[in-house]
């Protein structure tokens, strides 16, 4: 069996693979899951790469697929990741020290948001996408994006003090 794929598939992966992995990593918060997610998505797109490559932005198509795949993923590997609607009372309670870096606090809190909320924040704050663009990517209404973002930010805000996000490392 000979795989007939667009010749630039390998070139695209070589050139943009690290970008895709970063995108997947900010979604999952887990290096292994990010690799798994990117592999799975690219495998789905492999057979129809010619059509993807013919688009104005293959990277946007792949990132959209990664995001949707992430939201629909059934956990097949033990990852330790357990998205939850509830956060621990204190960010330092989940294994860190009192000298947790601000970034680390935010990162750990993000990892405990429900997937859709985390994806929306990642798309908004990492990819700088508008609510309308996020709605298009997720296949939901913009109002759903706004309400989920609002809930996620409220959750984060409730778990971080002003010092946590504006002050230096204590």
């Amino acid at each position: 069996m000979t795989d007939q794929v667009h010749p630039s598939f390998e070139g695209f992966v070589a050139a943009r693979g690290s970008t895709l992995l970063r995108h997947a990593y900010v979604l999952t918060g887990d290096r292994h899951l990010a690799e798994d997610l990117v592999q799975e998505t690219l495998a789905h797109l492999y057979r129809r790469w010619g059509r993807v490559a013919a688009t104005a932005s293959p990277e946007a198509v792949v990132k959209t697929s990664i995001t949707r795949q992430y939201l629909s993923w059934r956990r097949r590997r033990s990852s330790g990741e357990r998205p939850s609607d509830r956060l621990p009372e204190n960010p330092s309670a989940f294994g860190g020290t009192d000298a947790i870096d601000d970034d680390d606090v935010i990162w750990r809190l993000l990892a405990r948001l429900p997937r859709k909320q985390r994806a929306i924040l990642a798309l908004r704050y990492y990819n700088d996408q508008s609510d309308a663009q996020i709605a298009e990517i997720l296949g939901v209404s913009a109002s759903t994006v706004r309400s989920n973002a609002s809930r996620a930010l409220a959750t984060l805000r409730a778990q971080t003090s002003p010092r946590d996000v504006t002050g230096g490392v204590s």
Partner: protein
């Protein structure tokens, strides 16, 4: 604080992104692709075996029941586009992008005209003007704001566009600003134009564009978020905390904003075709039906297959006042399964699979947007529910029948 949290989020995500792995295992990708192909081949084979078994079984059953009857000849009638009313739809493309152009196909009689609009977000509003020969649509700008700029093109006797698409202009009226259009079935286009686009709270004007496109009237609107519904006589707002208010439209503005219900979390909305009510998705699949005239609220049972994180894909009304919803039990990179549900008055009954929405043009056949095993960026295909049905082909979701 809000700004600080925004900055902290941005900084954290960008800094941690640098910790991501950097090399994609191409051999792993190829291996998975082969596995997916094998799995699909097995699924197709299994489906084929089941289909053959069903056909053979049915054939045997029919043969048993009608063994002494001569089967009548099967006649088929090819769908003929010429039999359709004039229509237009945004043409889907498997390679569609979040950014890029959208094609609008005008089909009048046997004449097809393809228009290209330099925006990924195009919403057809309907046919207006004298003899309803002018197609009006909204185009989202590339800055991500949800306000649409209205465009129009007029079709001649031969079904062809008489010129290139132009921004909609109303004689004697100032240039229309970008806004949120709400086409009233059989009535005007209500265009809510914020004075400070992109602002969460903005004063605005409501431009009512007459169906003949010969005149437009303007009235001031209160500072608010964008409305969720505007009919010929009412406007409804939902604020950031999902508080719902309704006001009656008056000649010089609106009556007092009256609270009607509080959504737990607004997830979608639909307005009845006669403008008498709206349905609000309120999170967790719950739906509240709000009558405009007396602000009475009816709570509907939760739509099946929804939960706090999974909202209905869409809701719509039919001309008889029935409410419908579309849901998906799973969303994957390469296909989406869509189920539809019909509100019976007491519960949601399963409707046909694959239906994302329906439109009910006045005097014309209804059409449904179906999505079955569609690919990303290709939300579905329109099927005109005439006799016989006519499959218009891939579309990204907007249709206007004259």
């Amino acid at each position: 604080m809000s700004h600080d949290l925004d900055s902290a989020l941005r900084d954290s995500l960008r800094r941690h992104a640098e910790d991501a792995p950097s090399i994609v295992d191409l051999d792993g990708v190829r291996g998975r692709a082969r596995e997916i192909r094998r799995r699909r081949a097995v699924e197709v084979l299994a489906a084929g075996i089941v289909a053959v078994a069903v056909v053979l079984g049915l054939g045997a059953l029919v043969g048993t029941l009608r063994h002494d009857a001569t089967p009548p000849p099967v006649t088929t009638q090819s769908p003929t586009p010429g039999a359709l009313p004039p229509l237009a739809f945004t043409r889907g493309d498997a390679n569609a992008q979040p950014v890029g152009a959208t094609q609008i196909l005008l089909r009048v009689g046997s004449a097809d005209t393809l228009l290209t609009t330099p925006s990924a977000a195009v919403t057809l509003l309907g046919w207006y003007g004298p003899d309803r020969r002018t197609l009006v649509w909204g185009v989202q700008s590339s800055n991500g704001l949800r306000e649409l700029t209205l465009y129009a093109v007029t079709v001649g006797e031969d079904g062809r566009a008489t010129g290139s698409p132009q921004p909609l202009r109303i004689p004697g009226a100032a240039m229309l600003g970008a806004g949120r259009p709400f086409p009233v079935p059989g009535g005007p286009i209500q265009l809510w134009v914020p004075l400070t686009p992109g602002s969460p709270q903005s004063a605005a004007v409501l431009v009512t564009i007459a169906p003949d496109l010969a005149r437009a009237t303007t009235r001031p609107m209160p500072a608010s978020q964008a409305p969720v519904a505007i009919t010929e006589h009412h406007v409804a707002f939902v604020d950031a905390d999902s508080h719902v208010t309704v006001a009656a439209l008056a000649a010089r503005g609106v009556s007092a904003l009256l609270p009607v219900a509080t959504c737990a979390r607004l997830t979608g909305e639909a307005t009845s075709l006669d403008g008498s009510a709206m349905a609000l998705g309120c999170g967790g699949g719950t739906v509240e039906q709000v009558r405009f005239d007396d602000r009475a609220v009816t709570h509907l049972a939760a739509v099946p297959e929804t939960n706090q994180d999974v909202d209905p894909l869409n809701m719509w009304w039919d001309p008889s006042g029935g409410i419908h919803a579309a849901t998906t039990p799973t969303m994957r990179a390469d296909y989406t399964v869509v189920h539809s549900w019909d509100w019976t008055g007491t519960s949601w009954a399963p409707g046909p699979d694959g239906v994302l929405t329906r439109v009910y043009p006045q005097g014309g056949p209804s059409a449904r947007l179906v999505r079955e095993n569609a690919s990303p960026g290709n939300p579905g295909r329109w099927i005109v529910e005439s006799s016989p049905e006519v499959d218009l082909g891939p579309s990204d979701g907007s249709l206007a029948v004259r």
